[in-house]
């Protein structure tokens, strides 16, 4: 079942040139993110250090004194020109950091934010959705009650409330985002489980003495997985964008983590002063990733579940 879904999806994406383009761009971003995961050893007095990644080695540039426009030879700080140590494709920010490098550093964060929360949410949703749908009765009642309560708190407030009492950090942010977004998927899985449960082969498997856990995870789970995949791909864009917004209102990840949100955040101060490259760098990266993913996710969704064709 799953493999046929997959082959349909591949066929569809092959035919759709936009989806193909989207997929290519996403792959490029994935490559950047992977480069930012691979550690590269560095030797110094204190021994071997593993702090830098391949991306750092490839793209990190010397820190300048302050702002410089893209590809400039000199920068300006307090009305005094200063020479640059190297050329910067997208210029430097107020700390003299290379904008391109910062933007590339944001890719890994974006992927973490885009995927980890929905995986967390998926785990919750699968667990509760399957249990509720399969066993029914009071288990179903309790789980339904919990998600009824959670879904009646607007997500953004739930998020704010959780982030206020938790420590700041990228992973904490992921957990908060995950915990606040499992409800919708859980509802879908519960419904699908109810449907699948009644199918004949499940009855047959039960008659053959299959245990509950076997039924749940070998027979029912594969039949609801396409919903999970659709949900994860569809949530990606929204999550990446919400990172920017949350950083903006002061609930983002800890510093040192690359963040497009933080780069955009300074824009309203910089833009009227003619410093557009920092904003543009982050915005374009964010836009490209989200657009590419949207194009690709649309095709994937259409392929995996024609019933769900919707905005």
């Amino acid at each position: 079942m799953a493999s046929s879904h997959l082959s349909i999806a591949i066929g569809r994406i092959r035919k759709d040139s936009l989806a193909k383009a989207g997929l290519c761009v996403v792959c490029l971003f994935v490559l950047v993110a992977l480069l930012d995961v691979v550690p590269v050893p560095a030797h110094d007095a204190g021994g071997v250090r593993w702090g830098r990644t391949a991306l750092d080695v490839l793209f990190q540039k010397d820190v300048e004194k302050s702002y410089s426009p893209p590809l400039a030879r000199t920068g300006i700080l307090n009305r005094l020109e200063f020479p640059l140590k190297s050329r910067h494709l997208l210029g430097t920010n107020n700390l003299g950091e290379d904008v391109l490098y910062n933007a590339l550093k944001g890719v890994r964060t974006a992927f973490i934010i885009g995927i980890v929360p929905s995986v967390i949410a998926a785990v919750f949703a699968i667990l509760f959705g399957l249990l509720a749908g399969f066993y029914g009765g009071w288990i179903d009642d309790v789980i339904q009650y919990v998600y009824q309560v959670l879904s009646s708190i607007p997500a953004i407030l739930l998020l704010i409330a959780m982030l206020m009492v938790m420590e700041r950090g990228l992973w904490q942010l992921c957990v908060a985002l995950g915990v606040t977004s499992w409800v919708g998927l859980c509802r879908l899985i519960r419904g699908e489980t109810l449907k699948v449960k009644q199918m004949e082969y499940i009855e047959a498997a039960r008659a053959l003495g299959a245990s509950d856990s076997r039924l749940l995870f070998r027979h029912i789970l594969p039949n609801v997985m396409h919903l999970v995949i659709i949900e994860i791909t569809l949530d990606f864009s929204g999550l990446v964008m919400s990172e920017a917004v949350l950083t903006f209102i002061g609930l983002g990840a800890e510093p040192g983590t690359g963040s497009w949100g933080r780069m955009i955040m300074t824009a309203d101060r910089e833009l009227p002063n003619g410093i557009w490259w920092n904003l543009t760098g982050a915005s374009v990266f964010l836009f490209l990733l989200v657009l590419a993913f949207n194009l690709f996710a649309d095709a994937l969704r259409d392929a995996l579940d024609p019933r769900l064709r919707a905005g």
Binding site: L18, Y145, V146, Q148, V149, L150, S152, I153, P154, A155, I156, L157, L158, I160, A161, M162, M164, V165, M166, S237, M241, A244, V245, F248, I249, G250, L251, G261, I264, A267, D268, L271, P272, L279, S283, L286, F287, V290, L291, N294, L295, D298, R309, A310, G311
Partner: protein, 327 residues
């Protein structure tokens, strides 16, 4: 109908209690009273001051049941943090803001109007603009115009609302000087300040909305009754605007009501950028000042609004779909 509404309201009671319970757990398990007190007491609080602050806010009481003898030498088992919290919210006796030394309810009263002056027009206007546009696109379905429009929608969807706001404020406000860059006025004068935020809110939601409505419309356009109407000689425009639109209202209603909470996010940023003294602004201030009572109350109030909204949606279904009746 009255019976139906009463039943729905009764069914909402456990949910509301659940929300109360949730906020209690969140804000009492994680936050330490000492830290809150010090944060709120300013420059050089003495330990005695901290202690009195904590006890005056009832934070030194036991979590669930109070078996100690109180001042009147009697035991009040329900004078505990949990029961006081529940009482506060359920009976609408909202606490005082830690930071602003004011009842949250009076803050809410003052803040809700500016927020509504953005969200309501933005909400209505976006429906009013997106729906006809979606119908137009549905009219051109299958042509290159449709495909182009769809692509533009995806592009619009892929731009973060932050960018809309930053560019909108910069070009329309600062460069072209069409709108006040910052500020608000209570009363009828508000519209001048609300205009740009509303335009930006509508613009930022346009792509996603349009695409969704188009999908809904196209699903309907394929329906049999459309063919019947065509065979009767009804014009295509009429079919779209009358037959299809009314049928499409159900999914549209569901999604628009579900999207109301997202208006909060939008208005949060808009209020912050344009200096509109609404709930979003209050929320941001509460975040930066660690004003837990405000956030706690906001969570509760918004949940109530949300529950009320979903009941209203269900009722409004009956207006557009005769197949749905109150049971």
């Amino acid at each position: 109908m009255a019976y139906y509404i009463v039943r729905r309201l009764l069914l909402a009671v456990p949910t509301v209690l659940g929300v109360c319970l949730f906020t209690f757990l969140l804000f009492n398990v994680f936050a330490s009273p000492e830290a809150i007190a010090r944060k709120q007491l300013g420059k050089n609080p003495t330990p005695v001051q901290v202690k009195t602050w904590i006890s005056s806010h009832g934070m030194d009481k036991p979590m669930f049941f109070n078996f100690e003898r109180g001042r009147d030498n009697a035991v009040h088992p329900f004078d505990s943090r949990f029961w006081n919290h529940m009482k506060e919210l359920v009976l609408f006796q909202f606490p005082e803001s830690d930071y602003l030394h004011e009842k949250v309810s009076s803050l809410l009263k003052e803040k809700i109007v500016p927020s509504l002056t953005i969200t309501v027009p933005a909400f209505l206007l976006s429906i009013l603009i997106t729906l006809p546009l979606a119908l137009f696109i549905a009219y051109y379905r299958g042509t290159y115009l449709d495909r182009m429009a769809l692509f533009v929608c995806v592009i619009l969807m892929s731009i973060v609302i932050l960018n809309y706001i930053i560019f909108g404020q910069y070009f329309l406000g600062i460069v072209l000087k069409y709108f006040p860059v910052y500020g608000y006025e209570f009363g009828l004068g508000a519209w001048r300040f609300v205009l740009l935020p509303v335009i930006l809110a509508v613009a930022s939601g346009l792509g996603g909305g349009l695409r969704f409505y188009r999908t809904v419309m196209l699903n309907e356009v394929r329906a049999d009754y459309v063919r019947t109407a065509m065979a009767k000689g009804v014009s295509e425009e009429m079919i779209l605007f009358k037959h299809v639109l009314k049928n499409a209202m159900i999914p549209i209603l569901t999604v628009t009501v579900l999207s109301i909470p997202f208006l909060i996010t939008g208005s949060l940023l808009l209020e912050m950028y344009f200096g509109i003294p609404g709930m979003g602004n209050m929320m941001l201030n509460a975040i930066s000042n660690h004003d837990y009572p405000v956030i706690r109350t906001l969570v509760y109030v918004y949940s109530l609004l949300y529950i009320a909204g979903s009941i209203l949606t269900d009722i409004s279904y009956t207006l557009v779909d005769p197949r749905i009746t109150f049971k």
